[in-house]
């Protein structure tokens, strides 16, 4: 009889404990869900690109080039980006004994817009007087580079050479009213 009462008490206590645990569990579960969320997935942000290509560049043949003579080299500037760009052209590198006696003029063939007019040695990327043209998306424009052998060049430059690498760079028009290239 005593054992049975003990057992009953223990059972009652156990059941009470279980109920308390259940209540606690319900409350914690409820507390967990009082924070709710709203989510918008897969928001995507992509940057565009600016690209320019020099295509169909004529070969420059300086054989038989003599003081007072002009050589013309044509090439195509191609805006391969999806927006309007400003572009400018320059020599990536220029070397040779003829550099100092060569005058360079760069102009857009159709419009005649002059991108550069000066000595070959100064036609470099850092030159702040380089002209800036604009190109629409996917626009191709023919450009002519005129190489003028100075008339008064001394005969001692004959036999010298001229080595150049033409470059161009472009930058977006959008949000760029200052035509900032850097």
């Amino acid at each position: 009889m005593g054992d049975t009462q003990k057992l009953s008490r223990k059972l009652a206590f156990s059941i009470f404990l279980v109920i308390v645990l259940l209540v606690c569990f319900v409350l914690t579960t409820y507390a967990l869900v009082t924070t709710t969320y709203q989510v918008v997935n897969e928001n995507k942000f992509e940057t565009g690109s600016v690209g320019i290509k020099l295509e169909d560049v004529d070969e420059l043949d300086i054989r038989n080039w003599e003081p007072g003579a002009m050589l013309r080299q044509r090439l195509t500037v191609h805006n391969v980006s999806g927006i309007d760009v400003y572009y400018k052209m320059y020599f990536e590198s220029v070397a040779g004994g003829l550099v100092d006696v060569t005058h360079v003029r760069v102009l857009e063939e159709q419009s005649g817009f002059v991108l550069y007019d000066g000595s070959a040695s100064d036609f470099l990327a850092g030159n702040e007087s380089l002209g800036i043209g604009t190109l629409a998306p996917d626009e191709q424009r023919r450009v002519v580079i005129e190489y003028q052998f100075e008339k008064d060049a001394a005969n001692d430059v004959m036999g010298y050479d001229l080595s150049i690498v033409i470059g161009a760079k472009a930058v977006q028009v959008r949000n760029n009213p200052e035509k900032e290239f850097n």
Binding site: L7, L32, T35, Q38
Partner: protein, 744 residues
Amino acid sequence: MALPGQNRNKTPQGGILPTLGNGKAATAIKIAVIVLLILSGLFLAGTIGMQIYLHVSEKNEEKPDPGYTDVPVEIVSPSRETGLPHLAGVVYDETGACVSDFGLLLKPDGRSATTNRNGYFMFDNFGTGECVLTLTDAEEKTVSHVRLRVSAGETAGMSVSDGENGFFNIVLPRGARLAEIVLVLNRSTGALSVDIDRITYLTEDGLLATPNGTAKTTDNTVLTASGNLCFGDGRIFLPVVEPDGSRWVILADDTLVKLESGTHGDVTLEKDGTVTLPGGTKLLPDGSVLLPDGKKAEIGEAGTVIGDNVTWPVGENPPKNPDKPDKPDKPDKPDKPDEPDKPDEPDKPDEPEVEVNLPHFSGRLVVGDFEGSYRLVDKTSGDEALIGSDGYFVFDNLGLGEHTLVLMDSAEKTLAEVNLELISASYKGVRINGNAAGGYRLRCASDIRLTEFVLTLDQVSGKLLVDTERFSYITVDGYVQAPYGHTNSKAGVIVTPCGNILLEDNRILLPVIEKGQRWSISAKDKLELCLAGACGSAEIDETGKITLSDGTEIDVDGKITASGKNPTTQGPTGVIISKGTVVPIISPKPGEIAPTPDPSGDLKAELVEIAEEGIDARPFVAKNMYPGDCVTKYYCMDVTPNGNAVMRFYTQLAEPGAKLGEVLGIRVFLWSAGADGSYSRTAVLYDGLMRDLSADTTLAVTVTGEKNAVIRYFFEIQVYLDKTVGNEYINQSLTTDFRWELSK
């Protein structure tokens, strides 16, 4: 008599069971029972907890509505009346393919029809009231169903809406003989729906109204989009050809008969089902039209008008027939004899006659900094609109028809363009969707005075994109539909989200100021400058600032200051200004029923939740961003704090180490309503790199509301790239989740 606990262990077979309270075995049993109880309890509690969670979150998760059930659908309302109109249509699937050889069962009538190879079906004398069309496959298994509520109204046109309880409400004008609908079966979800943008009806007077315009069958024979051939004498030849070549025809008295080959009036029915019209044009059994010269005619999207050796789409003008010589000019009318002089009337003020071609078209361009030197040019008319403050632009009398709007810079360079087709619609309001040219088709009811759209720029495609869900319009009778609600000019002065100001006298003041004078559209729809002084019911000073009759001021920057209140703006909702108060244009969606407060105070009522309604849950996508770009999007959030709660907004990057995360910035503004209901930016929740925006770095906002009170907030999210961002960030992308968190 055995005492409790005694001899209970004896089985009838005399076997022994462990006795409770008897040694180790009893203890083991006890523990096992307790463990079992605890496990059961835990399972039960977990289930209860999950149920609560699911109950809370069910509103937060978009569940695809299957739209159908295999359980037979009962019609609750018995208000069904057969008779006119006849109902015809076609069934397509979501890819646009015809759903052929499927059955359509009409309940409660019990009638059925089968779709032909073009997806066509027809119920003669369909009538009005509520019904269900059940779609069954070739094995007669139910595929889906759609609920229709057809009624004949006093309206001039037909309207279809996706109404409450899953019913599509079709309201026909009185005198409608035939209604044509397009049913769309989504095979992946099983949903069957009515395409509410492709509705056609034919009246007893012979007027065929389509989404693209109208045509009179009394002038020309007209082939509808579904393939019904409508004659001026009232006959309708259906595209249903029997194997013997006979065709089903609705006669002028609305009886359905089958005509066999032979001559029927001025029409000849060939043995193969071909219908030959008086001019020699033939309607072939497959639905195509053969002109007398043997050429196949082009079929219009909304129907085809068949003339003499020529066809043209419904809604368009007939093409000029090169074979026909131009009509000679009419001889001048003989001069009328002079009438006797009338007594002089007082002079009326000169009013130049301006041909008004509604609707005006305004909006806002939201991507990039286009103010000043950029403009939109309508290639069709040559008209142009400068992009003004906050991207605002307006075209006076853009008019119906096809337009190509081109965004140009000051150097005449084309940045992007968009093709717009503005067409007249027979139903109310404005609807917009894509067109075949990759642009947009705007169907405008004839009473639309001004439309207002938000354009964004897609650099890759070189297109301007129209936000098809956030637009506004003003009708000739002063009704205003804004993105989050509607109102009318009787409620007060209305400022639309783009800043157009509709006065009580129907004059529209524009947010365009030139030399201190403000442009406006008069009540007669003429564009004119308002000089300083009285302009309609408002006063305008020499700077362009407006003072309304209730004393509220709207300055040149669009700031609205009601008497004695802080300045606000119209925000993304637009506002109504009346009697010194500024309230947002927010109203329930059609068919939406305001939630009933739960008085029982159960668990749900105590929980915090973010309501699904009202949220624009579309992802924020911005492509081809360049240094200096800033793209803005608004999200609307309904919150039920039930007391105090804390709200946070933050992001979770899919790839925390993404390169673009180093430079991509985000600004988050909270827009909330003031005491007078007007919305304004009330907090900057964050401004910095997107990758650094987390639950810890964002500004948490305490929101307070009474039990069950729903509070609406707008989140203005600006994503930007600084001008100094360099080349190493070109062609980079970043994907992130936006999270709104609300906790007690």
